[in-house]
């Protein structure tokens, strides 16, 4: 017996919709088995992991707060990846955005006007774009591989941030602890509603979502990006300027990552700390592919990713389920989701030996 995959030749429309469902079923089944083996009631555990975090409006708002930075980074990455420009540096671009935004906010501590926020957000976004611009420059001038340069710039960005938070941007009244002063209210993203931490970054993210969708699906620039991604030579033949597109894709994804970073410090954190991001820039790579580089898919994927984080915490608190187990469950889900996507382009074929043998017999007879 042999399971083989045959190329379909074209995308299967049915599988486009069925593969996430199949993945969900497989995850729920194997997750239930895992929890049952550990002696937890499977339904209860799944409820705690996936439903309970969203039991009230507060839970939903926290989900959005967690999803925002991932969504922003992933939207930018999707544009770059459509052009087959592999920006792996969203993490560094995010950190630089947070750093520059904080530096600006600390200059404007006494400002009362809302312009302060505009400056802070602009500084963060520009810094993220500039950081990605380094990769674009290295790629277009020296033909240096952007995967390598953007990864390496992540480490430089992290250490720059550490340098500043331990040095020039450290709170003078903070006993030498590596934290900046709290930002002034004018440079914080305003909260939406009294309960919870959901902030105006939500509007920015929705605006970005719409803009990226229009860019990719309704604009000539988006068309050029896709052509470049599908066939570099063809793009050259019709006169699309590759270098310009590389610059555009990297600057855009860097700017959005920078926006995500400044949104964290000016939003829920309120000051510069060493640990601005628990790896949002890397999670965004998974999310971009999980969303199939489509803005709406990415929205769903980032919400799912955020839910997995929240559910993991919730299960620890409510059931004393070790973090390793919830992470295992998260891994299962991501694995099945990506694995099932194979079925869109490939058809599984089960070759049964006895089937072939009986067919042979018939021929002989």
């Amino acid at each position: 017996m042999l399971l083989s995959l045959e190329p379909r030749g074209q995308q299967s429309r049915a599988m486009l919709w069925l593969s996430p469902l199949l993945a969900a079923l497989l995850t729920l089944a194997s997750g239930s088995l895992l929890f049952a083996l550990l002696g937890h009631d499977p339904l209860d555990t799944l409820h705690t992991l996936l439903v309970a975090p969203l039991a009230d409006w507060y839970g939903v708002s926290e989900l959005l707060v967690k999803a925002l930075p991932i969504l922003l980074c992933a939207l930018g990455l999707a544009v770059a990846y459509q052009a087959r420009i592999w920006n792996i540096g969203a993490e560094g671009q995010l950190l630089l955005g947070a750093l520059a935004g904080s530096a600006m906010a600390l200059q404007l501590l006494d400002w009362d006007s809302r312009w302060a926020l505009l400056w802070v957000v602009a500084a963060g976004t520009a810094a993220g774009a500039a950081w990605a611009g380094l990769s674009a420059w290295l790629r277009t001038v020296f033909n240096a591989n952007e995967i390598l340069t953007s990864i390496m710039l992540n480490y430089i960005a992290l250490n720059l941030l550490l340098f500043f938070v331990h040095g020039p941007l450290k709170d003078p009244a903070g006993f030498n602890f590596p934290e900046s002063a709290m930002f002034g209210d004018a440079s914080r993203l305003p909260l939406l509603g009294d309960d919870g931490r959901l902030h105006a970054g939500l509007y920015l993210a929705l605006l970005t979502l719409a803009a990226v969708w229009v860019l990719l699906h309704r604009s000539f620039l988006g068309f050029q990006i896709k052509v470049l991604g599908l066939d570099r030579r063809a793009a050259g033949f019709v006169g699309f300027r590759e270098k310009r597109l590389v610059w555009f894709a990297l600057l855009l994804s860097g700017a959005l990552a920078g926006l995500a970073g400044v949104g964290e410090v000016a939003g829920p954190i309120g000051q510069l700390v060493p640990q601005v991001s628990p790896g949002y820039g890397y999670a965004a790579i998974t999310v971009a592919f999980l969303g199939r580089l489509n803005p709406l898919g990415i929205l769903a994927a980032s919400l799912l990713m955020a839910l997995l984080y929240l559910g993991g915490e919730h299960a620890q608190m409510a059931m004393n389920l070790p973090q390793a187990i919830t992470q295992l469950f998260q891994g299962l889900m991501l694995f099945f989701l990506l694995a099932c996507d194979v079925l869109i382009l490939y058809r599984p074929r089960l070759q049964l030996n006895w089937g072939r043998r009986s067919a042979l017999k018939q021929v002989v007879a």
Partner: protein
């Protein structure tokens, strides 16, 4: 979940009826105690010790309490959510066990005045938010004494995390012990800018040993520096938990943070209704610091060390007794004066004989 949302409501009802004291106990709703951890509970260092403390609370207070924890909580935007979810989820007492949780804890404490919070190593308090930390410098001083007696090269190494007062204080304590028991010895410091990074910690230990250091201290949480010391054949002093088994031929002692007694005491106080906000400093006298001294140390030296420990416990001796000068020679603590908690909490200078330069 349904159960969770119902509890605070029920409790509020009971309180509103004024039966809280009587019924609260009769209903035997266990006190819910939550712990927020920075690392994994299996780090064999900082978080592991807090987890041991939680275990002790469960052991000592049994059915009166129900405890729970969340591990690996990053100090960024996530901390506030975890802490608030605990407060919302009906937890009555919440311990947040890393410095970076200070502002989020304060923020949530303001929103939940009925919930009691305790934050480790911070400096911001409120009516329902206490702080607690360990006088690790007492252990460091005794470790410095052992190093002074055991070193041949007169060079002591320190794998340091961040240049905050706690770490600077501990480096100073070692130098003061060296000055007294082996004058001319010096301490070398390498900053790894992390609390838990076995790779970097091990690199730092190697770099120190390459410079001739023969006793390695650490202010980080993994056993990596000890394993490095064991491999390179030099001594070491562990931190946070008893790390002797990671380097049986290296570890002279470990400065063990034992949070259990404090956790039991605080939880009991909340149960009894007489908890009050405070800035708790636990040292050798409070059993917050334990020093298991290895048999690698000769018996005579061990006796001497036990005497220093006894003197610190009884208050006869304080490692930071003046005159203490900073590196520029300026007098920081006058002769005969014992440093106050405020002096210790804001210590941002190296004492006179530290040769290293403090990162600014």
């Amino acid at each position: 979940m349904q159960n969770n949302t119902r509890k605070p409501l029920l409790r509020a009802l009971v309180a509103a009826l004024g039966f809280s004291a009587v019924l609260g106990a009769a209903a035997a709703d266990p006190l819910k105690v939550g712990f927020v951890y920075i690392g994994p509970i299996g780090d064999h260092g900082w978080t592991y010790q807090h987890e041991q403390g939680r275990q002790l609370v469960m052991e000592k207070l049994g059915a009166q309490v129900e405890t729970s924890y969340v591990e690996n909580v990053p100090e960024g935007a996530d901390a506030e959510r975890v802490i608030r979810n605990m407060a919302k989820g009906g937890f009555d007492l919440i311990f947040t066990t890393s410095f970076g949780y200070m502002n989020p804890t304060l923020k949530v404490a303001k929103q939940f005045p009925k919930v009691t919070f305790e934050h480790a190593t911070g400096y911001k308090q409120a009516n329902n938010l206490a702080t607690y930390l360990s006088r690790s410098y007492e252990g460091r001083y005794v470790g410095g004494f052992l190093a002074a007696r055991m070193t041949k090269s007169k060079k002591i190494g320190y794998v340091a995390s961040f240049p905050i007062p706690e770490v600077i204080r501990d480096i100073n304590a070692i130098q003061l012990a060296l000055d007294k028991y082996n004058p001319g010895s010096e301490i070398k410091v390498v900053w790894v800018n992390s609390w838990f990074d076995p790779g970097k910690e091990s690199d730092a230990a190697n770099a120190l040993i390459d410079q001739g250091v023969d006793v390695v201290f650490q202010h980080t949480d993994s056993p990596a520096p000890i394993q490095t010391a064991e491999r390179r054949g030099v001594y070491s002093v562990g931190y946070a938990s008893d790390m002797a088994h990671f380097g049986p031929k290296a570890v002279l002692t470990s400065i063990v943070n034992d949070w259990g007694p404090h956790y039991v005491k605080s939880t009991q106080a909340v149960l009894d209704g007489n908890w009050a906000s405070q800035d708790f400093w636990g040292g050798l006298a409070e059993d917050t610091i334990q020093l298991p001294i290895s048999d690698l140390v000769p018996a005579a030296v061990k006796t001497e060390a036990q005497q220093i420990i006894a003197d610190i416990k009884s208050g006869k001796f304080h490692p930071f007794t003046g005159p203490i000068k900073d590196q520029s020679g300026a007098l920081k603590i006058a002769a005969g004066v014992v440093a106050s908690n405020t002096d210790l909490a804001s210590m941002n200078y190296y004492v006179e004989n530290v040769k290293a330069e403090l990162p600014k």
